[in-house]
Symmetry: C2
Subunit: 369 residues, 2 copies
């Protein structure tokens, strides 16, 4: 068995409170998934992530394939064991990073040839190879190999990109089904297996999105993601695409919007029926000194915080807000201290995870007339 | 009252198990003090330091004076409050950093003129100014302003340097006694005050060391440090100087050897009767991937650890050794991940603090014949 989704309650707007049963963790949804690119949510120890209530984190296939290498991770029992993370994990397909980070890409129907951003070495990724890598990593959820269509893309470009993504989805699924028993933890979780999600693309074209969703559903993935959003398009277009695609997707499978978003966005999308979201924003912004709070955004390096003895967020009870002042966080950043990234990230993740906790609670309540 | 030292047990070799009562903490000695240069033990959150059993940490006067500035820290209630550290603290005098980090120094009997290593701005440190800064920071223990004599130094140079240090010790003490009531937490700890330690210098000349110790004892400091060691001299010379000076110092006051050392050194010096030691070694080495373990030193970046699934130290039960493998720590370092410094530092500090815990336990036991 791959995953199982137990719907607990659904509101009229589409938002649903559910439990997503994965081999390593039953995830309470809607859920926000912190990004742990290279086998670490940058600057935060795993026990702290646990205390923060993170249920599922991401690993990036492209990064882990290049370093330390998926075969090494397979030999060490998979990514969970390698990084000592007992809860759920999801890996992306590597496609996004191949297209955004690597050099000298050459895309053919067969796959993508690229040079590593680390050492310039040459590599070739195909849907089959992405599956092999993701099976070796052994996350609870793997993603089909896709091309994230850029924005803006004209219709011809979006169509061609979608054609590639759909062909690759088919090949991803076939290879995954044939090899998913090779996951390194197969023996530890008898009867449980990885899940594979298909990714809806199609640029900002409604009919292409529809075509994409229908083709993927016909293939019958374990869950469905909406990709190619938050790539530079205006926010109302993001919202429109999500609103368009969500009702097309089956109700009994998880729905994942990739790479979003700001705090108010993740709340809004969760209420519309998105079950899973991930974004580098809370962690990356933290490292640049941008804190998300109940009172808005704080640029912690600002001189006005130099002697501000209030907590980062007076309405937050995270370990950072309980103990440290804005003045101290500003000082750490000014002084280029490593603790700056750690404390800022802990707060931002607490804020994001707290939002989703509140959304889950509100989705459990009977709706008001 | 400044500090009080309760001697619990003394062994023939001179080593003593004691309790050092300071305003913010009763410190079990012998003690190792992690260095928290700019108001943070680099890469480690304060709650982790507490879990590790750190009883007293250092702050560097030079760094904190330059950024965020001692007057700002005074206005915020002192360094303990600013960094949220409720246990004991010690600040150095700023002298060592003025001499080692700053540019264009000009030393006169009056003090030291220097340029900031941060922005080139011009500053003037005198013994009186060092006291004012340290009183504003409000550590439990402050240090007299001294010149750390370099190694090698010929006799004339060591004599002249000592003359300066002794004159500055007198002026430090006079100014400290006149102003110590201005410490920011005076009202919170009625009847308790900061302590000031004198620093024995004299290069590697026994008679100069003796002269230095005698002059300082005549001034009657709250405790005594041995400075100017671990500055490049051979290790048996360090040991000889410590062995020479320790018996000269009063038994009823704490003895602090500054800037030492390797794990076996801190154990050895503690057994000889040194009560307090500090060193950047465990924290700085950690950031460069050097781990101290019961089985020797590990250069964690070494390729041989790439798939080593053992803990950093099989005999260590710190939070890092309980959870993470050598392979993972190697990966974090290879990938330049921030978590590398955090985990490596936590282990090294656990190892250093663990050594001192064992030494304390052994000093409590009745000696064998």
């Amino acid at each position: 068995m791959a995953l199982a989704l137990d719907l607990l309650h659904t509101i009229d707007a589409g938002g649903r409170r559910a439990q997503l049963h994965l081999p390593h963790q039953t995830v309470e949804t809607p859920v926000f998934m912190p990004v742990g690119t290279a086998g670490t949510v940058k600057a935060v120890p795993q026990d702290t992530l646990e205390s923060l209530g993170a249920q599922i984190i991401l690993g990036n296939t492209y990064h882990l394939y290049l370093r330390p290498g998926h075969e090494a991770i397979r030999r060490m029992g998979g990514l969970h064991k390698f990084i000592s993370w007992p809860r759920a994990m999801l890996t992306d397909s590597g496609g996004f990073q191949v297209f955004s980070l690597s050099e000298l890409r050459k895309v053919t129907d067969e796959g993508v040839k690229f040079r590593s951003h680390l050492d310039g070495s040459s590599h070739f990724f195909t849907p089959e190879h992405s599956m092999d890598v993701q099976i070796a990593l052994g996350a609870d959820i793997a993603m089909a190999f896709d091309e994230c269509t850029e924005y803006p893309a004209d219709r011809a470009r979006a169509e061609e990109s979608l054609r590639l993504t759909m062909a690759w989805a088919r090949r991803s699924l076939d290879h995954f089904r044939a090899h998913q028993h090779e996951v390194p933890w197969a023996a530890d979780f008898a009867g449980r297996s990885q899940s594979l999600f298909g990714i809806v693309q199609g640029g900002m074209y409604r009919d292409l999105r529809k075509q994409s969703a229908e083709q993927l559903m016909e293939m019958d993935f374990d869950g469905y993601a909406i990709g190619g959003l938050s790539v530079g398009e205006p926010r109302d277009l993001t919202l429109e695409m999500i609103a368009e695609v969500l009702p097309m997707l089956p109700k009994d499978k998880p729905r994942y919007v990739m790479g979003v978003g700001y705090p108010d966005e993740i709340e809004q999308y969760a209420r519309m029926g998105v079950d899973m979201m991930d974004c580098v924003l809370p962690t990356r912004a933290a490292r640049h000194g941008l804190l998300f709070t109940s009172e808005g955004r704080l640029t912690i390096k600002n001189k006005k915080f130099a002697e501000d003895q209030g907590p980062p967020d007076p309405n937050c009870d995270c370990m950072v807000c309980r103990r440290y002042t804005r003045a101290y966080l500003r000082h750490l950043m000014q002084a280029g201290e490593a603790l700056s990234a750690t404390l800022n990230t802990i707060h931002n993740l607490a804020y994001y995870l707290g939002i989703m906790q509140k959304v889950r609670a509100s989705l459990e309540k009977p709706q008001q007339a």
